[in-house]
């Protein structure tokens, strides 16, 4: 963007070198004094009133904001200033990032070897943020999360961590940027690895925990769902709302996607979609399109609509193999194909993927497809209708874990927010109060 014209080099060259500024943390030495660029003019910008400077800071993307905190003490303190945070929450544009964590293999959870214990701490500590606008990866640490918790979902700038132990599940909500941690009351029924759905708005928190009920210490069955709700209007439901799952369903993905007032979850063998209406407290099944020909289906949400992403291949079909996106229509049962991966790109993709399957996460206008067993990933931008390969995460190179899922990432859409005032609702839970249930 900006170019620097350093002091002229006295070599008879036909053109001047222009050196672009880099994002290094090093402070330039005295040579900085002779930098003159069109933009570095403190005559003008130093006259900007403080309120306007604060407004400019509120528009900074999150990494730039944290770098700007090192400028002076006043800027450092903005993160804790209520007036700045109010301004920030009003003007800051929403950005649709992603956060990924290293997948812990189920074996290490169940058998809990000592090796797994050490590695588990390391895995928990790091999250990998992906910025789809600049296609850049960042590594962020989550040191305050106690061991034995794994990330399940994210919404409204908060990440939901769920305890891994079988039994009644403890849940934490954390904001990785500020390190805040807010616990929720534990669920009531004992479960093993339930699917978690989280949706947070400016004034409410909704959490659904579904499936994997432990009907005996050694047997699980997908029986019921518990729902947690709290909102600024004064309604609470501390796991009091329960609902039974449809018979013979298998929720293996562990994640629920929120769209339009409902949680959606992938049901395997045969493929269908389970939908949970939060207000009506009811589950229903939706048939998947071309369900016998799908491979690696995933659900994502975009612009308030549910989208199914899956590869279609069956030798008996006349249609060529492809990767398609279907959108669920407002009626709730019909699917319409909205996008298909270009054929050439699909050939490249299937070469890399080689039948191992892929995971798909979506946030806002972006869909990221992570290929299992490989470090490569694809991204689709709905606004510009563009498919592109994205650079693989540079922080997991050479990481080889014990178990089958070497360095695999799983994640969800994440919106970096400096402040999440909705957690104040949870602080009230320590006081005795009247709770609604049902």
């Amino acid at each position: 963007m900006e170019t620097f014209h350093h002091a002229q080099i006295s070599i008879p060259l036909p053109y001047n070198f222009t050196i672009t500024s880099s994002n290094t943390g090093s402070i330039p030495g005295p040579a900085a004094n002779c930098i003159t660029t069109p933009w570095m003019d403190s005559r003008i910008w130093s006259r900007l009133p403080q309120r306007l400077i604060d407004r400019v800071i509120a528009f900074l993307p999150v990494p730039a904001f944290f770098r700007a905190r090192a400028v002076c003490k006043r800027w450092y303190g903005l993160l804790f200033s209520n007036s700045f945070l109010e301004l920030y929450l009003q003007v800051s544009p929403r950005c649709h990032w992603f956060i990924f964590f290293k997948q812990k293999s189920l074996k290490s959870n169940i058998y809990k070897t000592t090796n797994g214990g050490n590695g588990a701490d390391r895995i928990n500590c790091e999250g990998y943020l992906f910025d789809p606008y600049e296609t850049k990866w960042h590594r962020i640490s989550c040191p305050l999360i106690p061991p034995g918790f794994s990330p399940a979902s994210s919404s409204g700038g908060l990440i939901c961590w769920v305890s891994e132990e079988a039994g009644s599940k403890s849940i934490l909500l954390s904001n990785p940027l500020t390190g805040s941690l807010t616990p929720l009351p534990s669920t009531l029924r004992p479960r093993l690895f339930p699917s978690i759905g989280l949706t947070i708005s400016n004034t409410s928190i909704d959490l659904a925990v579904a499936g994997d009920d432990m009907i005996s210490p050694y047997a699980v069955k997908n029986l019921s769902t518990e729902n947690f709700h709290i909102d600024g209007g004064g309604f609470y439901s501390i796991w009091g709302t329960t609902s039974s799952l449809p018979r013979l369903c298998s929720l293996e993905s562990g994640q629920m996607v929120f769209a339009n007032g409902r949680f959606y979850c992938m049901n395997y063998s045969p493929f269908s979609i389970l939908s949970y209406d939060i207000i009506a407290n009811q589950w229903c099944k939706i048939q998947a399109p071309m369900r016998r020909f799908l491979r690696s289906p995933s659900l994502v949400e975009s612009k308030g609509k549910l989208i199914l992403v899956a590869a279609v291949e069956k030798s008996k079909l006349n249609v060529p193999k492809s990767l398609r996106l279907w959108s669920l229509q407002d009626c709730g049962t019909m699917w319409v194909e909205i996008e298909r991966m270009p054929q050439q790109l699909y050939l490249q993709f299937s070469d890399v993927e080689n039948g191992q399957g892929f995971n798909c996460v979506g946030h806002g206008e972006f869909i990221v497809i992570l290929i299992r067993g490989s470090e490569k990933a694809l991204m689709f931008d709905f606004c510009r209708k563009r498919w592109q390969w994205i650079p693989s995460c540079p922080y997991i190179h050479g990481y080889r874990s014990y178990g089958d899922q070497a360095g695999e990432l799983h994640g969800f859409g994440y919106e970096p927010r400096l402040a999440t005032p909705v957690t104040a609702l949870l602080d009230q839970l320590t006081l005795p109060f009247q709770s609604f249930s049902g």
Binding site: I27, V56, A68, A70, V71, S141
Partner: protein, 221 residues
């Protein structure tokens, strides 16, 4: 006045009825019916004329109302005066993009030209150009986006003046656009460069600065 007309109408109607009755009493049969049929068109034309008078009065009332601005005439123009004395005539809708001006118009202080003491004519020209476009093409999101991108290709002096003007005139969209542009210019800079840009003194000790870097190492990667 309408009531008066109706009053007269009913009076005449009653008069007619009474006459009918008297006719009926006096002459029965065919001649009576003939009389009645003559009277009937009279009463109809009377009623119709009443209707026309009523509509005429209604329309005259409407046209004399100050709130009704007929679409055929030109929209209301507001005069703005910049700090260096130049005047600009803009449509009311365009001027209302500025909340400051909007409040002045609503409080009825805007009868003659509105002085804008902090804004020069160059800047005011640009501000008016922005507001005009945003009023004209309100529904065209894509067009507005490309217009905004082109609009912000300006030098730093103009950007500063636009920021201060949109802050004074309280034009939220232009203010946010300007702040976003400045944020985009500084987002790639390290702290020292930002200090130079804004003329801010570094009040951290080197140890404190090191602490801050350790707090969020991921942004300094």
């Amino acid at each position: 006045m309408l009531y008066a007309i109706f009053g007269v109408q009913t009076f005449l109607q009653r008069d007619l009825e009474l006459r009918n009755l008297s006719l009926f009493n006096r002459r029965k049969g065919f001649s009576y019916l003939f009389q009645k049929s003559l009277l009937f068109p009279f009463s109809i034309s009377f009623f119709l004329s009443q209707g026309f008078i009523y509509l005429f009065l209604l329309s005259s009332r409407k046209s004399s109302s100050p709130a009704a601005i007929m679409s055929s005439s030109s929209p209301k123009m507001i005069t703005l005066q910049s700090s260096d004395g130049e005047t600009f005539e803009v449509e009311e809708a365009v001027a209302m993009e500025s909340r400051t001006i909007k409040h002045m118009i609503e409080d009825d202080c805007a009868n003659s030209s509105i002085p804008i003491p902090n804004v020069t004519s160059n800047t005011l020209t640009k501000v008016i150009e922005y507001c005009k476009k945003h009023v004209e093409a309100k529904s065209d999101e894509e067009g507005l986006k490309s217009f905004d991108a082109e609009f912000m290709k300006i030098d730093k002096d103009t950007l500063y003046d636009l920021l201060m003007a949109s802050n004074y005139l309280d034009i939220k969209s232009l203010l946010d656009l300007g702040c976003q542009t400045v944020a985009d210019k500084i987002k790639g800079k390290n702290p020292e460069e930002i200090r130079k840009e804004f003329g801010i003194k570094n009040d951290f000790t080197p140890e404190e600065e090191e602490e801050i870097r350790k707090e969020s190492p991921w942004v300094f990667d």
